[in-house]
């Protein structure tokens, strides 16, 4: 293992009862890398981070931070880390400065070093205006900044941030990612999120995890290319609308089978329709361009084409493909698992669910 490897895990697993929250995870993060740790809610992101910060112990496997084993040298590990847990749980009755001093004391910074570091983190995190304020009176955005500031107070080489942007409004998010870029210049950062835009703007590499397993790990370009598909969306006018001008009336089954019959179309999937349109989504190989064929087919059938476009797959699609796909497959196994996989799709309402909790739901659903 080279000295450049800052975070190292080998077959890391964690079970809660019969439920495997993290299942044999292997990855390395090197010096200076900013890595996005992606996955739906309940995928095991927080659990992994809690193991790395020695809050909980793995059931099996090893993890090393800066060469220190999380099991044997928890204090050494924590000294090298700055950690911001989900939703920045701070002591609300303390003022920002008091809190930073408390963190500095626990990290054994002497007065001089503390002043120097505090000045630096206050500047980076933009806290100068609120130093004397009680944390309870701060907005989520500011609390998140205070959380980041305490994680940086001892100038750690490694930062672990658990969903640092989940409670922020769009402006705060952008700002936070700006800080992150500055901070990430000389540090190793592992950042968990389920928001892909953040990864695209702040990270060079992503690890995607689903149901406790790593499903993709690599530079963003590589992950984007992973599925090797392009997507087409086609809408044709529905005859039930008032002013239909087509020669023939399209029927659902007919459209679908016509689309399927085109060479190169891999998958046809009906999208939500309104009264005026029938809309389908198709996947095809990356290098092909099926638009002429699709257009010709619609003309031949005598239908009215409303919309036709081709997307290269975004990271979002890859993410969904890698994570939701698995959930869907599981849904077929039985109704009990249906609730379990729904948790996985990570709609925004459940943003605040921490991984441990949803892990519990799932464990009970699977029982």
């Amino acid at each position: 293992m080279s000295t450049d490897v800052m975070i190292y895990t080998n077959d890391l697993s964690k079970s809660f009862g019969s439920f495997r929250a993290v299942d044999k995870i292997n990855f390395e993060v090197r010096r200076g890398e900013v890595v996005g740790f992606l996955g739906p809610n309940g995928a095991g992101k927080s659990t992994t981070m809690r193991i790395l910060t020695c809050f909980i112990s793995p059931t099996s496997g090893t993890a090393r931070i800066h060469g220190h084993d999380v099991f044997d040298e928890p204090l050494k590990v924590r000294e090298t880390l700055g950690y911001l847990p989900q939703r920045a749980p701070l002591y609300l009755e303390m003022s920002v400065l008091e809190y930073l001093r408390f963190a500095g004391d626990l990290r054994h910074l002497d007065g001089e070093t503390f002043r120097k570091r505090a000045r630096a983190v206050v500047e980076v995190c933009g806290l100068a205006q609120v130093l004397g304020k009680e944390i309870r009176h701060l907005s989520h955005g500011y609390r998140q900044r205070v959380g980041l500031a305490q994680a940086l107070i001892h100038d750690p080489p490694i930062l672990i941030l658990d969903e640092p942007t989940s409670d922020l409004d769009p402006n705060e998010k952008t700002e936070f990612l700006e800080y992150l870029k500055q901070i990430g210049k000389e540090r190793t950062v592992l950042l968990s999120t389920h928001n892909l835009n953040e990864v695209e703007s702040a990270c060079s590499r992503a690890i995607i995890i689903s149901k406790g397993r790593i499903v993709a790990d690599g530079p963003l370009e590589e992950i984007r290319a992973k599925s090797g598909k392009v997507r087409y969306v086609l809408s044709i006018q529905d005859a039930t609308g008032s002013a239909y001008r087509g020669k023939n009336t399209p029927k659902k089954g007919e459209v679908e089978s016509a689309l399927r019959s085109i060479k190169g179309v891999a998958k046809v999937h009906e999208l939500p329709n309104d009264d005026h349109a029938l809309t389908y989504e198709m996947a095809a190989d990356k290098d092909s361009d099926l638009r002429p064929e699709l257009f010709q087919m619609v003309v031949d059938k005598g239908w009215v084409l409303l919309e036709l476009h081709k997307d290269t797959q975004t990271l979002e699609d890859v993410f969904r493909h890698l994570t939701v796909g698995e959930a869907r497959r599981n849904r077929k196994l039985g109704s009990a698992q249906e609730t379990a996989s729904r948790d996985d799709e990570g709609d925004d309402d459940s943003d605040n669910d921490d991984d441990g909790d949803s892990a519990d739901h799932r464990a009970s659903a699977e029982a």
């Binding site: 809690r50 909980i56 924590r78 880390l81 749980p89 701070l90 009755e93 959380g147 305490q150």
Partner: protein, 244 residues
């Protein structure tokens, strides 16, 4: 040790930042004062320069109000709000977290006891001189109360560490400590094995000697062992998060 003190200092500050410290001290002194001077004619009816009345009230007060109040939040609230995760992932040992919180809660009890000590001082030293007071039983009584608090606080911390609700921690602690004090009365009226067991377990029976000026080693050992055992269990309970 440095970490323990840092944590204890923070805890203590948060008692004073919230209402807890003022409720504990204010309410307690008011209750003790009423009981001591007013209820049933107060100390004036006793016709002796004796603080027995005060030592009757303080154990109940500690058991039912003070100790549950200062320990209920210790770990339960931190677990609920998630701050525990941030605290524990700092380079501190679990034992330092437990000890720091214990010291802070105990310090609150001692602050109350120090306030209660103002009663005899005010009456017999300054500003009033109501006569000469036999200080021996006063000191031993307060040593007894300190040991009582040491054991009770450890117990409260234990219940705070096994639940996420500070209300539940409060009631379990108050109930059990209340029971341990009440067992002393049972021991006085019931004889035989039951009475012996009650007397052995009761904080009140153990404390009785102290208010008469007797420092009984068995009682000292009893209180201290309870404190140590409860602290060890709280430590284990905090550590168990790793394996659950």
């Amino acid at each position: 040790m440095q970490n323990t003190l840092t944590i204890a200092r923070r805890e203590l500050r948060s008692f004073f930042d919230s209402l807890v410290a003022y409720v504990v001290v204010g309410l307690s002194i008011l209750t003790v004062g009423l009981w001591f001077f007013v209820a049933g004619g107060g100390v004036w009816q006793v016709d002796r320069a004796n603080f027995g009345r005060m030592f009757e009230a303080l154990p109940w007060l500690l058991a039912l109000l003070v100790i549950p109040l200062v320990t209920m939040r210790a770990i339960a609230e931190e677990k609920r709000s998630g701050t525990l995760e941030l605290l524990i992932t700092m380079p501190v040992k679990d034992s330092e977290v437990i000890l720091g919180k214990y010291l802070a809660a105990l310090a609150m009890c001692f602050i109350l006891l120090a306030c209660a000590l103002l009663f005899p001082i005010a009456m017999f030293v300054w500003p009033w001189h109501l006569g000469s007071l036999d200080w021996g039983p006063i000191w031993s009584g307060f040593i007894g109360l300190a040991l009582f608090s040491a054991a009770g606080t450890a117990m409260g911390l234990l219940f705070s560490s096994i639940t996420e609700s500070q209300i539940i921690a409060f009631f379990i602690t108050a109930f059990l400590l209340g029971l341990l004090v009440a067992l002393g009365m049972l021991a006085q009226y019931v004889h035989g094995t039951v009475g012996d067991i009650a007397g052995f377990l009761s904080f009140e029976s153990r404390f009785e000697g102290f208010e008469r000026g007797l420092i009984d080693t068995r009682a000292v050992v009893y209180f201290l062992s309870i404190a140590v055992i409860c602290l060890l269990i709280s430590f284990r309970s905090l550590e168990s998060r790793k394996w659950s």
